[in-house]
Each structure stands twice: as C-alpha cells, then as structure tokens.
Subunit: 415 residues, 2 copies
C-alpha cells in the first residue's frame, strides 16, 4: 500500500510534465532517414533513366520490376532473379494483394478461390505483427494462435493444424528478429516448416522477412533460406517470401519485393497483368543506382544500427534495473521492437496509465489476432523513433506504470 | 484484280525494308518524357521532404495521399479535397483495386460482395479501352457492349440495361477524348448518366478521365463535371472518377488519383487501411513541388501538344489522302488515339498484313470485350510514340493494307 502510494507520487510527477511521446510504431527516426539523402538525386538527368537493358524506365512496362533491383533482392534473399517480383513502396501491400488474389482466384494449385470456402483459417504466430492480423481479419479468415517459443514458433502445433484440416491455408511468420519478440527462427524450426505436410494442396507460408538486414550488432543472426530448404521436400510452391527497403531507405518511398518458386512467380505475374501496367521503375532504379548492390544495402544497415542501438540499450537498461523479477523480455539482436511480458492481467492497465500520462504505446493486445491477448500480458515497445532522452523518460514512466498495475492487481487479489 | 496486283507490289516494297515499327500502345515518346527532367530533382535535400503540414513524407503514414497533391487534383477535377484519394503510379491499379474490393467486400450500399452473385455485368462502351475490359474479364464479370455514338455512348441503351437488372453493377467510360475514338461526351450525355436510375443500389460509373488535360489544340473540349451533376439527383455515390499524371510526367512513375463522394471516400479509406500504410508520398511531393498547381500541369500539356500534334496530323493527312470513301475515322481534338473504322470484315486482315510487314498495331478486336469486334472493323492507331518519319511510313503502309484487305474481300464476294 505504501509502495503503491509512492509509485502514484512518482507517476503524478511525470503526468505534470504534460508529456507527448509516441513509442507505438516501428518507425525509423529522422537521423535514420537523413542518411539516405543521396537517394533523392540518384537520378538527376534524363539520360539517367535508362536501364542496363536500354529500356526507358520513365515509360510503361516491366510488370515485375527492373532487372537491376531484382538482382539486388535475389542476392539478399539468396534466390535467383526469376524467383523475384519487385513491387511498389509497400511490402504490406504485396502481402495484402497476395491474400486478396488467393481469395478471388486461388493460388497455384488451388481447387477453387479461397473465398468459396465457408471458412478458411490462417495460423498466426503470437505475439506477432498486428498488420498481418488485420489483413487476415479483413478477409474474414479465421485466425488460430501459435505460441512463439525461444527459437521460433511451436512447430508441433503448426504441423498438427496444417496436417489435419484442408481449410487451414496459411501461416504468418516474421522469421528474423520477429515482430515483436526479436527472435530469429532456429535452423531446425525453418527446416521443419520447409518440410511441412499440409492437408491443403494450396497452403502458403507468408514469410515476411521484414528485418532481413536489420542487425543491431556487427554480426547478425543467420536465418536459413526456407525456399531453398523447401525445394528438398518438393514444398517450394508453399513459400511466399516478402521484404522491402522500407527501413533501409524510406518507409514511405522504398521498394518492396516478393520471392517465390518460379512456378508461383509465373502464376502470379499472369494475375498481376490485370492489376497494373507496372510498378514505379524510376524509384526502383534510384535505389539500384544509389545502393549499387546487396553489399551496399548491408553497409547502410550498419549506419542504421549505430543510430538505433543506443535507443534499444537505453530501454533495456531501464527494464533491467527496474523490472527484473517483475516482467520478462528478450534482448533482441536486431529488428525494431522489444516485447515486454508483464504479469498476466497487467498489460492493458499499463498501457492505459501510460496514455493518461501522455505516452502512446501500441495498444495492449495488438500483437494478437482480434487484438485479444488472452493473458493480457504483452506490450510492444518501439524504441527507434523517439529521441533518446524522450525514450529514457518514457521507459522510466513505463516501469512505474507496470509496477502500479502489478501492485493494484495484488491488492485486488488480497481483498 | 489489276488494282490488287499493284497494291501487292507496293506492299512488297515496304516488306523488303524490314521495318520494325510499333503503333500499338498509347505511350508518350522520348521528347515528351524529356520535358519533365526537372521533376527528377524536385526533391534534392533532406529538408525538401517535409510537407506543408510539417510531416516528414519519407516516413510512414497518410493513407490517402498528401494534401499538396490532393489540392492539385481537386482543382483539376473540380471537386473538393475531401473527395480525393491520391495513390501510387497507376490509375489502372486504382481501378482494378476498386473492382477487387467490390468483388470481395462490396461498395458503399452493397447488400453483399459482388462475388457472391452468380453473375454480375458491366456495361462497356465500345470501342473502348482494352485494359478496362481485361480487368472486368479477369473477375469473371459479364460484359455488355454499348455503342459509342458521335457525342458519347448510346445512353438510351445504358439506361435500359441499368434500370431493369440489379446484377448490372458498373459502366466503364473514358468520357474525354475517349479511347480510342477521341470523342468527348456532350453535356447532355453526361447529365443523363449523372441522373441514371439503376436497379442496383450499388451501381458504379467508372469514369476514367485519363485524358482530362490532354488537348491537342489550344482550346480543348469541355467535359461536364459528372460528380457535381450527380449530386443534383442524389446520385453522387454512383460515381468513381479516376485520373493520373501518367501522360503528363512519366507513365512509369506518375501519380494517380481517384475522386468520389465524401461518403465513398470515407468508405474506401476504411477498406484501404488494411491494404497499405500509404502511397509513395515523396513522388507525390516531387510532383506537387515541380508542377506547383493545376495551372502548372495544364501548361505542361501545351508542351506535350506541340510534340504530338504533328504526329496526329501526319496520320490524319495520309488517311484523308488515301482512305477517304473507303474507311471512316474521327479527327480527335485530344487524347492518344485515332480510331479507324475499315469496311466490315477487314480489320483483322489489315492488322495481320501490317504485322507481316514489320509494323505492330493494337490487335484487331482489342477495343471490344473478349477481343471480339463483331463487325471486325475497328483498328486503334497510337501515333504518339514513333518518330514522325516512321509514323508516316507506317501509315502509308497501313493505307495499302486496308486497300488490299478491302479488295480481297470484294474479290471473295464476287466469286
């Protein structure tokens, strides 16, 4: 009781400061965006706009993107150039469209469009990326939660669901520096997913490799190439990989990419033909000229790490000092988030207290399908965007809010 | 017979020249693309990337586009800024996605998604834009042909179909400098379309104003604002307008736009939320800064007209000299095409003869749903892309091919 009073005292001190902070979204900060200034003028003259193939990229054409950018993504994802489609500025858009096409027309190997089933389901690793879940929900697809473990999802459970029911059509994964836990799937988990036996002939693993390059340390985690592994089991058509330069160049004006088996790519290109005459080739060329090659992109990621690593450290230090023994978290070696697990029943209250004091966090529950964290314990922290001093303030306050929520809960239980 | 021999002689002379010409697609030529060079460097420094609202356009956000570009499109289309969504580089993509969302979820006022009907139909003004028809066909939507007349489509027929059948859900129009005829709908036709009574509560007119600014003469045609007219009849929710800068700046890297009633826009934004975090705002800002305002865009169109008008004239002069009394066409005051109507049964043969001699035309029939021109008479000529000398050569050959096809047909009839 005394402890709670003291916490409220400290909380109210923060509240009086009229904070207006935002730790809700995984956005790069201004310093990160500033390092790509040269990208703006990578194409400056008319004659810069022609591809290595002599094609005028200002004009129509090239449905699946320019070869220069295909080569870079192929190198990054360790696939061949004919396993790549380069898109517009949003990989989320490519994922949404991939599900939309599956609903409307089916994927390669579908007996019928997915929308013709009474109900289909996707397996969702939790906690996970809220936008994956909202895409799925928007199509009325049922979502089944698969717990994230220390080295990737509970694959036993995935195998069980996928094997027994042909209306289980998909699995969402962020396999490297997972959103929000920051965990990279182990080789064994990737191999088992690559070898998966599914009741549905048209099952797809949506492998959102959003943080493929986003190491915080000089030596990043290694992720096994699931497309290559899947080929060993004749499963290559089950894999859709996605990535983008959104957090390398610009979130609002980057280049996205999809990688899949040649059969899938050919099938998808036939569907894509109806949707567009082609992506923005000049922005693709701008990226290819500026970053030059996959190593060029990788080098930029070191600059990003220099900027954001201290932010991660500031949050983690504060959590360690204040919440050890109270809450748990994983110290990520890359990605954009820290996933804080508070005692059950305390996440919503913590986020509400933060909001009342002027700090916006991702809504509690957002990392679960239907925004429903059954244990009400996961809070996603996005440390990259705020200036480091604000981040320290916000984290200090966060620790107080967690403690208040925990103390209140105990008090309630003792009544 | 002697005439045919002479024609073959001339044809073979052309054939021996091993021509490789392309008059198939409405693409701007290199000179047109070159005039927008300054667009490439309209944003050159980090500090250029902030909007008038202080928002960093390099980062995520602004689902429906930047206010600077909304204002320009609102001015061009004579609608308000809250009746606008600014998109990516392709208005075809916006149209496709609009139909896709209707199929998956329905539009504002739909009882159910359009894909839940056994069959729905669209009314298609013919000859028309092949990509409209291929979008429609890709969704399995039945297409009903509506003949184009001298001042717009046969509205009597549109009214009849729309009024009697609630599975008639849409109408495709290119209302200004129509593709391919180059005809602008008269005020009376626009008013009748705006006032249309439809059996379906969720009927939509897809008003593809692709050539809104694309005058060849200093004084262009005037097109009545259908959204404004529709408001008089409570029909504003029936109108989806589309346009883009594809043929103002760059076909591959322009900015597209959709305009509709505030109710429609709000409804669509809710659906769009799931698809993307936002369009490429930097490319939008690049356009807004470079062209400044709607008048800036209009001024550029005069430069385009200077470049392409002689090309139209070259084709029209040759047609007049050679095909008067044999074929018919409309001399367009804007747009990108000349629509040539040859005697029935002669279009395919003409296009095939051209192809054999090395000149690619748009496939005969392409301007009709299912690529089926019932009279086999319409040929779409796209004069903007080839250099003028090539264009003259190609048109000379075209006239010969038409005459051969006509002579062969006569011969066949006389047998």
């Amino acid at each position: 009781m005394e402890e709670l009073n003291e916490l409220w005292g400290r909380y109210n001190e923060f509240k009086q400061r009229n904070l207006k902070l935002d730790m809700s979204r995984g956005k790069p900060c201004k310093e990160q965006l500033d390092i790509s200034e040269g990208l703006l003028t990578a194409l400056s003259h008319n004659e810069d706009c022609f591809g290595e193939n002599g094609i005028d990229y200002r004009n129509y054409g090239l449905l699946d993107g320019i070869p220069e950018m295909k080569r870079i993504f192929a190198d990054l994802l360790e696939v061949s150039e004919n396993e790549i489609i380069v898109g517009g500025n949003s990989s989320l858009n490519m994922m949404y469209d991939s599900v939309a096409r599956a609903m409307l027309f089916g994927v390669l190997g579908s007996e019928k469009p997915w929308s013709k089933y009474d109900r289909i389901s996707f397996l969702c690793v939790v906690p996970g990326y809220d936008r994956h879940f909202s895409v799925t929900e928007s199509f009325g697809i049922n979502m089944i939660c698969i717990p994230m473990l220390d080295d990737g999802p509970d694959v036993d459970m995935i195998e069980k669901f996928a094997a027994k029911d042909e209306t289980v059509k998909g699995l969402w994964c962020v396999p490297k520096y997972s959103n929000p836990d920051g965990i990279t799937y182990s080789d064994e988990k990737v191999r088992r997913l690559a070898a998966i036996k599914t009741a549905a002939s048209d099952f797809r693993i949506f492998w959102d490799n959003a943080y493929a390059l986003h190491d915080l340390d000089s030596e990043g985690d290694d992720l096994l190439n699931i497309l290559e592994e899947a080929k060993k089991y004749g499963n290559e058509d089950k894999i859709y990989m996605f990535c983008s330069t959104s957090k390398v160049s610009y979130p609002g004006a980057g280049v996205s990419c999809m990688a899949a088996s040649v059969n899938n790519i050919e099938f998808i290109k036939k569907q894509l033909f109806f949707q567009t005459i082609g992506p923005d080739k000049l922005n693709q060329l701008r990226h290819a000229r500026y970053f030059k090659n996959a190593d060029g992109l990788r080098a930029y990621m070191k600059k990003h790490a220099e900027i954001i690593k201290p932010r991660f450290e500031a949050v983690l230090t504060e959590l360690e000092n204040e919440l050890t023994g109270i809450a748990s978290w994983h110290s990520p070696r890359g990605g954009y988030f820290i996933s804080l697990n508070v005692p059950s029943g305390c996440a919503k209250r913590t986020v509400a207290l933060m909001k009342d004091a002027g700090v916006v966090l991702t809504g509690a529950g957002a990392t679960f399908p239907y925004r429903n964290d059954p244990d009400d314990r996961n809070i996603r922290i996005a440390p990259t965007y705020p200036p480091i001093e604000e981040l320290k303030t916000a984290t200090e306050l966060l620790c107080i809010c967690v403690k208040i929520a925990v103390a209140e809960k105990k008090q309630g239980e003792n009544k």
